[in-house]
Each structure stands twice: as C-alpha cells, then as structure tokens.
Symmetry: C2
Subunit: 135 residues, 2 copies
C-alpha cells in the first residue's frame, strides 16, 4: 500500500472501518502490521493479517451486508504514532434481519500501520443475534 | 464549581475519573450537567447528579477501594464542546479480592460540564465479580 503523506490517523481508521464493512479483508489487511493485535475483548485476541482474516471470514460469510457507523471518534498523534478511539454502531444483516451492536474501538497506529485494534462490546448482544440467526 | 479557563477536556475527564475512584460523588456530581446521560451500555441509563448517585452509591459501598486506571485517552474540542474517549481498567476490591473490569468510556463536554458518560464493557465480567463477592 502506498503511504499517503496527507493521511491522518482519523481518516486512516475511517477507511479501515469502511473497507471491513465492505468485506474487503484484503485491503484492510494491508493497513495493519504483521504483528497487529486484534482483540475482541469479551471473546479473545488474534494477530496479524491472517488472524484478522480467520476471525472475520466466517462472520462476514454469515452477513448479507454490514454497516459500521462511527458515531464519535477522537485521534491523538500522527501517522508515525497515534491513538484513535471511536464509538460505533456495527449493523449487520443476517437472514434479512438487521442487528445492531454498540461498540467502542481502540486503535494504535505505528509507522502508518494499525498495530492494535481492540473492540469493547457486550457479548450477550452478539450471542443473541447469532442465536436468532442460527435458529 | 469554579471553571478554570486553563482546564482541558482531557484533564477534566481525568479529574472526574479520579474523584469517582475516590468515591467522591459530591465533587464528581458538580462536574456533570443536570441532564447528563450516564449510560452503562449493558445495564442501562441514568440521568443527572441524582442518577449518578443512585447508580454508584450501592456499588461504592460494596467496594473497599477502587482504582480506575486510564490506559489510553484522546480528546477533541475545548471546554465549550468536546468529545473525550478513553480505555480504562477499573479495579475494585470486594472482600479483599481485586477485580479488573476492562472498560471503554465515551464522554461529551458542553459548557464546562460533562453531558454524556457512556461505558462499554462485557457485563459477564462484572456479574462474575458480583457473584463471587456475594457468595
């Protein structure tokens, strides 16, 4: 991926989020470091592009579509070293039903790559959606 | 409360958090607006100083001590209008045992008062601590 000198940590995380919601794991993977920590707090951690792919491929296959809306976001630092935090509503459609998961995301950027992506949410809400979807 | 013109949204939220961890609900209440929304995402919402007090008094009485550590925080705006997001580890001691709750907090500040405080966490972790504490 070409590094755009004008890119900001804020826009970088917005692009990353939009690519994932478009199920474009290849392009999103190119934005993370090889040792990136991907932590779904109630569930567990995965690492690097392969960990991202392993975690999301099954979920994305289950979803007819996704819309991850960033409600609030704040970024500190620049593309060499930054912290970005956001509040999102992750919407996903399974079997024609739209589910909404309120999420708080924490990101670290080092040398123009995401090195940490940690999502906080209530696991019960996600399990409820999965249970309804598989019934 | 006297408004300090030099105060920043970042330091305001740090002070608020430290006051709460010291169980000083009176001083913390003076930092929030009369209609402040206090939302514990998996549990529910309360409003204003009385809502803050009603939500936390029982919990604080249960805890021998609290230590709410801010791991990462980012603020955008000034004391007239700001968004502050942080990642915390909320530690609390009940019957001699220390529990750790990973939390992501979202705050809005308007006119030098906190108008929104929303905490994201996995309810299962909190229930586990309460169950252990009450057994």
């Amino acid at each position: 991926m070409t590094t755009n000198a004008l890119e900001s940590p804020d826009s970088f995380v917005r692009s990353f989020t939009a690519l994932l919601a478009a199920k474009n794991i290849d392009a999103a993977s190119a934005m993370i470091s090889s040792d990136c920590e991907y932590d779904n707090v109630p569930i567990g951690k995965a690492f690097g592009p392969q960990g991202l792919r392993d975690t999301l491929t099954g979920f994305f296959a289950m979803c007819e579509s996704l819309d991850w809306e960033i409600i609030r976001q704040s970024a500190t630092g620049d593309m060499s070293s930054a912290v970005v935090l956001n509040e999102r509503i992750d919407r996903f459609v399974i079997k024609g039903t739209t589910y909404e998961l309120p999420v708080a995301g924490v990101y670290e950027i080092r040398d123009s790559r995401i090195t940490l992506w940690r999502d906080y949410f209530d696991q019960a809400v996600l399990l409820q959606a999965f249970t309804a979807a598989s019934s």
